[in-house]
């Protein structure tokens, strides 16, 4: 009888200890989770800022790039380029246009 009671108490103590340990572990993991979430969000915001069209345009211009005046289209049935290259100079075709 005493052994049963003692054993029961010990088991209860063990269970409580394990639960308490679990609670500490959960708290520690949650803190870690918050830190990781913050890191992910900070990186996402950074990526989004770098991906912004304005940022891309600025960096492309810094590299000396210019926007293509017109895209060329190839008609697969005829095998001909639909847009005529001579119509597509490297600078805006419209006279008087100052960007």
């Amino acid at each position: 009888m005493v052994a049963l009671l003692g054993g029961g108490l010990l088991c209860l103590l063990l269970v409580n200890t394990i639960l308490a340990t679990g609670a500490f572990r959960i708290t520690a993991l949650q803190e870690g989770n918050v830190a990781l979430t913050q890191r992910v969000q900070a990186l996402q915001a950074q990526i989004a800022a770098e991906e912004a069209p304005s940022a891309l345009a600025r960096r492309a211009q810094a590299l000396g790039m210019v926007a293509p005046p017109l895209a060329h289209y190839l008609d697969l049935r005829t095998g001909k380029i639909v847009s005529q290259p001579q119509q597509v100079p490297g600078v805006p075709t419209v006279p008087g246009y100052v960007p």
Partner: protein, 714 residues
């Protein structure tokens, strides 16, 4: 303790009572009940020797030992003479202190030393009141111990335990839902939520035993935190000595999470308490001004820093974006650890939903750039550009200038979404509405008109913007040359009711259906309120006001073969389930016949050519593509000067004209630099945005052939 009384009655004893060696026991003296109990317990097998009186459990002398019998101690039956079993004498000795009283009375002489009869009588029954008193005393002593402990806990150490209880009481932890994102159709994030830290201090915890110790501790905190928080030491000290409330002061807000962790590490390393970091949610707009007029902005309020949308999508989709905060009731220990198996009432949070717009970020950026450039070049007040896909009603760009930074709103006036809320007289761009009504009510594109420089109709004079000799123009020519005088005559063929109906069918004066908080319906008075020349001014877009989105919708309807698709700005939403829910299919309604739409497009295809050849403004000329467009220059009421002396310049067009897939509508208000004509002021923005849109949407060129339309009449 046995109850006193029962004088003379036999006192039952345990079953193993040994036989009394001297003299036979009177069977009649024992209670039958007791005897039965005794016999049951002592004789489990029920084999009772006949000669024994009931109740004699233990074999007496002369009784043979029963085979297989075990005594209570578990030993095997001892071998030996009957009655010489070892346990018997021992038990007899053990039981002797409480023998039956009658026996004791009867035989006082035999055991005088063991049981003084007088003493036993005193305790047992003679003085029950004293026994009561004695037990009362015991109870009183026990109760006074309890009471003493109570006083110790409640009164002497009460404050200490109250404080402990205060710390370990039930806490409701708020689990904030993260506000969802707003993205463009191509996934560019326009608005998102990040967590950063708010660093707070509790000055009462940064306190030593002496004022000197306190000062040195606070100085240490200030010197350690000044670097990471980018604050001066004196600023930190000032906050510690002059906190906003006795035990709380915010040291720094919107601290990056990394810095917050650094602060925690520094404080832990120096074993300092009293400075805490708490995560807070902040709305960030990684694209800055991009589509800011559409996205809107948020303000934070309340102790938890709840974000509330104040304009645009942030406002109209506030509840979806915000989600719903959850909460959890936990019992926490003094250390702040939640106690497992606490009461734990949990209200689950609903995460914030996401909104995906129909906007294309690159196109939006180009449109905003073009707007900014035109406003600066023309010293204009504002510019709006709407790019719409006619077949779906999707708005691909909704640009304006000036715009604002949603993360730094300085004035509410700057946050107005001009393309949906600012109304302006559309001017010549609205001529297509009256022309469409006329074409469906008996007129043809070839219908001839005589167009002088000025005309007086029903007493109202009208004139064309550019001086010209009297011409003979077809209806197509009137529209392509944008003659007010001609349109006044065209309007004569359309009744006011029909004209009003066409305006509304094209979407002017009716709600746009866009889920934007400040969207305007435009201003189109009902026919009963028309006065004077309204019928004629409506023919060239004066006396009515529309938004940029509504005017884009007029041309999208024509571009879509006469079927108006209600414009949409939201492609879909992602709710708490995580599933993307596309926006419901846009409402479609036929406004004009396909043939009318085709005729109008053919006429509008003449405009870029006329602009380029007659006015040297080739903003509708895009190599490889046929463009149908219309310019407009409207007179705008100047509220300060009280006259129609401001101008609004428009350029709206579609491409490729053979199968229009994109409509670009540009409107610039109050250009003050030089010219105010639509082609000159707004044309360049149209050209830039349309050219980019054709590329970005990968629309192949259609060859750019212009159909022949006769503009002059014989």
């Amino acid at each position: 303790m046995t109850a006193p009384g029962g004088d003379g009655g036999s006192r039952p004893r345990g079953p193993g009572r040994p036989p009394v060696a001297s003299g036979p026991r009177r069977p009649g003296a024992g209670r039958p009940r007791d005897n039965a109990a005794r016999s049951r317990a002592s004789d489990p097998r029920g084999t009772r020797p006949g000669g024994l009186p009931p109740g004699r459990g233990t074999p007496g002398p002369g009784t043979p030992p029963r085979p297989g019998r075990t005594d209570p101690s578990g030993r095997p039956p001892a071998e030996g003479p009957p009655g010489a079993r070892r346990p018997a004498p021992r038990r007899a000795a053990a039981r002797r202190p409480a023998p039956r009283r009658p026996a004791a009375r009867r035989r006082p002489a035999r055991r005088p030393a063991r049981r003084p009869p007088a003493r036993r009588a005193t305790i047992r029954r003679a003085r029950p009141d004293r026994r009561l008193q004695a037990s009362l005393g015991c109870v009183a002593i026990a109760l006074s111990l309890v009471a003493g402990r109570l006083i110790q806990l409640q009164a002497l150490e009460g404050a200490k335990y109250r404080a402990l209880a205060e710390q370990s009481k039930l806490q409701v932890i708020r689990i904030p839902a993260e506000r969802g994102t707003i993205t463009t159709a191509d996934g560019t994030i326009l608005a998102m939520t990040v967590q950063d830290d708010t660093v707070t201090a509790s000055p009462q915890q940064i306190k030593g035993t002496t004022p000197q110790a306190t000062a040195s501790m606070r100085q240490q905190v200030a010197s350690l935190l000044a670097g990471p928080l980018h604050m001066t030491q004196s600023a930190i000290l000032g906050k510690l000595y002059h906190p906003s409330s006795p035990d709380y002061v915010v040291l720094a807000q919107a601290v990056p999470a990394a810095t917050g962790n650094q602060v925690e590490a520094i404080l832990a390393a120096h074993n300092l308490a009293g400075v805490n970091t708490a995560p807070t949610y902040v709305r960030v707009y990684p694209n800055g001004e991009l589509a800011a007029n559409l996205v809107g902005f948020t303000t934070s309020s309340g102790p938890g820093g709840d974000l509330n949308g104040q304009a645009g999508i942030e406002q109209s989709f506030n509840s979806l974006l915000a989600g719903r905060d959850g909460s959890e009731e936990v019992q926490t220990a003094t250390s702040g650890q939640p106690i497992p198996f606490g009461t734990g009432k949990v209200r689950p949070l609903v995460p914030g939903g996401d909104v995906r717009l129909t906007i294309l970020s690159a196109l939006q950026y180009q449109a905003e750039q073009a707007c900014a450039q035109r406003v600066k070049a023309n010293k204009a007040d504002s510019c709006t550009i709407v790019v719409e896909q006619p077949a779906t009603g999707r708005i691909l760009a909704l640009a304006q200038y000036p715009t604002y930074l949603p993360s730094n709103v300085t004035s509410l006036a700057s946050t107005v979404d001009l393309p949906v809320s600012a109304v302006f007289p559309p001017g010549s761009t609205a001529k297509v509405i009256t022309a469409a009504a006329a074409l469906e009510h008996g007129q043809t594109p070839m219908a001839p008109y005589t167009v002088p420089q000025q005309i007086v109709v029903h007493g109202f004079p009208f004139r064309d913007a550019d001086p010209h000799p009297t011409e003979r123009l077809t209806l197509a020519g009137v529209l392509a040359h944008s003659s007010n005088v001609g349109m006044v005559q065209v309007a004569e063929h359309v009744s006011p009711q029909v004209q009003y109906r066409y305006y509304r069918a094209f979407g002017v004066g009716v709600p746009t259906g866009l889920p934007l908080p400040s969207a305007s319906d435009g201003l189109l008075p009902p026919v009963s309120q028309w006065w004077g020349d309204e019928r004629y001014t409506l023919a060239f877009g004066q006396g009515v006001a529309a938004t940029a989105v509504q005017m884009a919708g007029v041309y999208a309807t024509i571009a879509n073969g006469g079927v108006r698709v209600t414009p949409s700005i939201v492609a879909g939403t992602t709710g708490s389930s995580g599933q993307f829910v596309p926006a419901p299919r846009a409402h479609r309604q036929r406004v004009i016949k396909p043939t009318t739409a085709r005729e109008l497009i053919s006429i509008l295809q003449q405009v870029p050519y006329l602009d380029a050849t007659l006015a040297y403004q080739p903003w509708g000329e895009i190599p490889g593509y046929s463009v149908a467009s219309k310019t407009g220059t409207a007179q705008v009421w100047d509220a300060k000067a009280h006259c129609l002396c401001q101008y609004g310049s428009s350029y709206i067009g579609m491409a490729p004209a053979t199968h229009p897939q994109v409509v670009v509508a540009v409107n610039i208000q109050n250009p003050r630099k030089a010219d105010y004509f639509g082609n000159y002021v707004a044309g360049p923005a149209f050209w830039q945005v349309m050219r980019f849109a054709l590329q970005a949407l990968k629309i192949p060129p259609d060859g750019g052939k212009r159909p022949y339309v006769r503009l002059t009449a014989p």
